[in-house]
């Protein structure tokens, strides 16, 4: 077995994505030879997919970067940081990567490596989500994880983070796939969550230590999320965006796709609703996911006590308040009642826990 060190060194180069890496390795036959060529700046004939002037700059940048790297020390550096480097030869190499159309050359892992082989569901969605979206993602994560199924997500703000939190709460298997080096916490607000996932689950990255967040790394990371899961659930997303790219990656890999239905006019549900219209799996709660996976569900459709539906309310004001924030003007206009009447009803509903007063109006309470 050859040392993964040259490959690790190659992955640490700036602006080097899967396509360029493949070009380098295929041209020179091995990572070792490619690394040698990069160090010498002798990259004639390698298809780098760039303009001629940019190519010279890129080759120079690589040569400068490579000169500063000590290949011998690179593996011990990762080992000292508590990071395992998995290669396709490793025992723990995720089976899902074996017949992937675009497998990573190797991955960096911190935490319980065995989780990478477990049956998992990806729960993804937009960072710019609604309160309802985070609540759904959290409950999905919790429900799926408590049935022993892994939860894979990207540790991003919004839906991703909520799904991880739910899974951690259930103490189930949780896999965080990130786009940066495992020592670069991104987003920084998720430092605690990052550490929790590393401690109770596993963190995976395609990037070596010290790799900062760059735009192109996120779609590349999304393909790993899709690859590691049996089912990919989109909780909230716009019609375009990272989550919808993840869906494309999933379809490419014959991974099933599910989506959580949302209000038809909510921009945050445009993506999932489109997927549902296209015929993907409807996901209302964790049970839908577990049934789709064929996992035994011991509790049936039983709900936790806190999921008791709110007292049945059927009046003009309640009906005028949507699950997304609704402005007071709209509520008054659609009920035709006076502002004072509406205010009295809304405040009563707020006390009863049926609606929430939020920054841009009122919305139905999400449990």
């Amino acid at each position: 077995m050859t040392s993964p060190a040259p490959m690790v060194a190659l992955l640490g180069l700036p602006k080097l994505g899967p396509a360029r890496l493949r070009a380098l390795v295929e041209t020179f036959g091995s990572a070792e030879a490619a690394w040698d060529a990069v160090r010498r700046g002798a990259l004639g004939g390698v298809p780098l997919r760039t303009r001629l002037d940019a190519r010279t700059a890129l080759v120079d940048a690589w040569r400068t970067a490579a000169a500063a790297v000590d290949v011998e020390a690179i593996l011990s550096g990762h080992m000292e940081a508590g990071i395992e480097v998995l290669t396709p030869d490793s025992d723990h190499w995720p089976p899902a990567f074996r017949d992937d159309p675009e497998p990573p050359p190797l991955v960096f892992v911190r935490g319980d490596v065995s989780l990478l082989a477990s049956v998992s569901v990806a729960i993804v969605g937009t960072r710019r989500c609604t309160a309802s979206g985070t609540a759904i993602a959290r409950d999905l994560g919790e429900g799926v994880a408590s049935a022993g199924v892994g939860v894979v997500s990207g540790l991003a703000l919004g839906i991703d983070g909520a799904a991880h939190r739910g899974a951690l709460r259930a103490g189930g298997p949780v896999v965080g796939v990130v786009a940066t080096g495992l020592d670069v916490v991104y987003p920084r607000r998720h430092r605690d969550l990052w550490n929790d996932v590393a401690h109770d689950g596993v963190l995976v990255s395609e990037a070596p230590l010290g790799t900062a967040a760059e735009r192109w790394r996120f779609p590349a990371r999304n393909r790993l999320i899709a690859a590691l899961s049996r089912l990919l659930v989109v909780v909230e997303s716009g019609r375009t965006g990272g989550s919808m790219l993840s869906v494309d990656s999933a379809l490419e890999r014959q991974v099933d796709v599910g989506a959580v239905p949302g209000p038809v006019r909510a921009p945050t549900s445009a993506g999932p609703n489109q997927l549902l219209a296209d015929g993907c799996l409807v996901v209302r709660d964790a049970t839908d996911v577990l049934v789709a996976l064929g996992v035994h569900v011991p509790t049936g459709r039983a709900r936790r006590s806190s999921d008791e539906p709110p007292p049945l309310t059927d009046d003009a004001v309640t009906n005028a308040v949507a699950w997304t924030p609704t402005s007071l003007d709209d509520i008054v206009a659609s009920t035709g009642m006076s502002f004072t009447e509406v205010a009295v009803r809304l405040t009563t509903l707020e006390v009863d826990g049926v609606v929430d007063r939020v920054a841009d109006g009122y919305q139905r309470t999400i449990r």
Binding site: R127, D329, T340, A359, G361
Partner: protein, 502 residues
Amino acid sequence: MLAIIQSSSLLGVEGRCVRAEVHVGNGLPSFTMVGLPDASCREARDRVRSALLSSAYEWPMRRLTINLAPSAFPKLGTSLDLAMAVGVLAATGEVSEESTDGWAFLGELGLDGSLRPVRGVVPLVAALRGVVRGVVVADAAHAEAALVPGIEIRCAPDLGRVVRALRRETPWSDPPAVPAPSPPVSPDLLDVRGQPVGRQVVEIAAAGGHHLLLSGPPGAGKTLLAGRLPGLLPDLDDEAALEVTSIHSAAGMPVDGQLIRRPPFRAPHHTASAVSLIGGGTTAMRPGEISLAHRGVLFADELGEFPPTVLDALRQPIEEGRVRVSRARGTVAYPARFQFVAATNPCPCGPAPTGCRCSEAGLARYARRLSGPLLDRLDLRLHVGRPDAGDLLGSPDGEPSAVVARRVLDARQLAATRGFGPNATLTGHDLDTIAPLVPAAARLLEDLVRRGTLTARGVQRVRRVARTIADLADHDGALRVDHVAAAVALRVPSGSGVAVAS
């Protein structure tokens, strides 16, 4: 030979009485000025000398000393020129001491002896009320000076005319005719279509003097609503009108011969500096926008775009109704009892019609800036949505401002009978006295606090607003559930409208 002439000088937005003591004595010819004159005031020596010579009076070739008493506070500007010139003439016997007795002199002199108006005539004259019988000012300043009641005003075009009038050789000049100012046009509520709650919140803000925050996407009509607020406020009473006119006069803004009776509306742009907003400055201590909005409305559009330092600086004046500006040359307090109205977008980009394009970090920063202690001081917080196209085109006209203003006036008069200030200034103790709650309303507030959707501070603010809502409904007794509920609904939680989950 000594002459003492009354005048006044501007400090901040207040006039201070100043006596120009002019002494002409024996000795080598010289001219000394003492008593903390600033640069423009010290330059008076050259203006006074030339003005005297141009008006064909003699300049005494003796030892001349002018003391500006009281010497302790700095004298800024050119308002003392005329008093010094008259003092020199009185000290050399050109005019008699009796003729200047009981008169004060205000104005800047030109080298040709012409008499010019100065900034802040209203406060300068007001300061002399009760000190002298009358004031002599430039022709052009007569209309402004005449706004101050209880003091005689004389005017003259130049120094020569002043001297001849004092000698009773010619009469004082006739005050120039003042063109009747056109009545101020205030935008009318009639223009606001749809937005039933938006109209209501402006009415409540007007009736109680509550600070107001309007949030919502661009084009929702936040600025439109805020601009309608001054039109709903009652006219200023005599005292307030004189205060406001004094400040505007001191700021050098045109005061067209009438007291300012309508509450001012000031809308500084978010690029305005802290000094232009708060007041101060290196050369002249001018009042800032918040003082120009005294007894009126200060409107901050795009609140989130104002620098944090500026927003912080607004907190103290909002609380105290005045602002103290300390600079190297002294400390002055400006009145700044304004009603604060702020408008803000839910996020820095608007949100754009194609959806929000802000970064998470940008959103978090924006929310942080908006959710500070400043917002805590705003009693009324409403989110306005974009109105329906149907509402804009098809809905019937709402009530015009005049009708609403009538209700606002009635509510304010009802509040005034209780002997407290406007409802927005009620303290917790006052509220217990004049805003008791019926048991059901008290229970409602308790429930909200227990649920954690209302804070203890929020309860106070809600009670104040509820008092105003009850006043508008001509209800003087304990606050009912409907009053409290409406006040709760008009208080959205602070923070940006876009949720960034973390």
